[in-house]
């Protein structure tokens, strides 16, 4: 018995309430049938913006403080945690243990990452961030079913 993977798989399944799991999966199936992935990504981005408005972030002085404020919200609602890493030309945003892949199905991660783009963009915008900086999910975020989302805050091309 490969206990490590089994344990992780068990807790991954428990990351979404059984009360809502099949409802969410059914809704995701209908959404996938009704809209192309890019529209769904935009839809979930808007959902993420609503989320960020409901859970605002106070003004922070440092990136570390901002990460702590993010994780306070995520921890309170059992949505995993995030790590912000400053790089030379951007900020890497790694969100781990998100329940979104389990809630909507592993095949939806290509567009459900729009939720995190909307959340983090709105949260960064609330910190007086210049409008030329955008949060974008990296292509590796489309790894099916992995409870990790990689995003990046960087300057958009003019």
């Amino acid at each position: 018995m490969e206990t490590g993977a089994t344990f992780i798989d068990y807790y991954d399944k428990k990351s979404c309430s059984s009360q809502w799991l099949e409802f969410n999966r059914g809704m995701a199936a209908e959404l996938s049938a009704g809209l192309p992935p890019e529209d769904l990504r935009q839809l979930f981005c808007r959902v993420g913006q609503h989320f960020a408005q409901a859970l605002p972030i106070p003004p922070c002085r440092t990136l570390e403080e901002l990460q702590d404020r993010f994780n306070e919200h995520w921890d309170r609602i059992d949505w995993g945690f995030t790590v912000l890493s400053e790089e030379s030309d951007g900020v890497a945003i790694t969100h781990a243990c998100s329940p979104i892949a389990m809630a909507f199905g592993p095949e939806t991660t290509g567009w459900s990452v729009g939720f995190f783009e909307g959340v983090y963009q709105a949260w960064f915008d609330s910190q007086r961030m210049p409008a030329s900086l955008r949060v974008q999910a990296l292509k590796t975020a489309a790894v099916q079913g992995e409870p990790r989302v990689d995003l990046r805050l960087s300057k958009v091309a003019a």
């Binding site: 972030i57 994780n71 306070e72 030379s88 951007g90 210049p130 900086l133 990790r148």
Partner: protein
């Protein structure tokens, strides 16, 4: 003149035959008469959600504002999560200016955070940009050109 006069005679006769009233009869318009097919998801045509002013006080919401939160009882301390497998970044970011080697973050469950928020400059006298604002300015500014390919081109530059 009765109420059935407005309906065609064949329709009125049909309704009379069955004891009905043809007054409420309406012809269905043929499908091709519709000028435009409605969008399946008209909600997506909406405008971008308006944000509150930057760094404004938390907006009113059903959720209690960000009040000092009781320290979250540390959920069963979990051993530091083993780093995930390094992702394969074929195209890290299409919109970024210069590709930089990605530094794999060390993922671990964050420690319980003290609930006290750092008090921002209340009197507005603190005009020095915060480290976060300095970071934003640096990222929004012109980016240095990427290093020329060479033996040390992947050497990590100080940030």
């Amino acid at each position: 003149m009765n109420t059935e006069d407005s309906a065609p005679e064949d329709i009125a006769g049909l309704f009379r035959k069955f004891g009905g009233n043809s007054h409420g009869y309406r012809e269905f318009a043929p499908p091709e008469a519709e000028t435009e097919t409605p969008r399946v998801w008209p909600l997506l045509s909406g405008q971008r959600i308006a944000h509150p002013p930057a760094a404004a006080a938390p907006i009113s919401s059903p959720v209690a504002p960000v009040a000092p939160v009781a320290p979250v009882p540390a959920a069963a301390p979990v051993a530091p999560v083993a780093p995930f497998a390094p992702p394969v970044h074929a195209q890290p970011r299409p919109a970024a200016a210069a590709p930089q080697p990605r530094v794999e973050p060390v993922l671990h469950t964050p420690p319980p955070v003290a609930a006290s928020f750092a008090a921002p400059a209340a009197d507005g006298t603190d005009v020095q940009p915060t480290p976060l604002e300095q970071l934003f300015e640096r990222l929004a500014g012109p980016q240095p050109p990427s290093a020329a390919p060479g033996p040390l081109s992947r050497w990590r530059r100080p940030t």
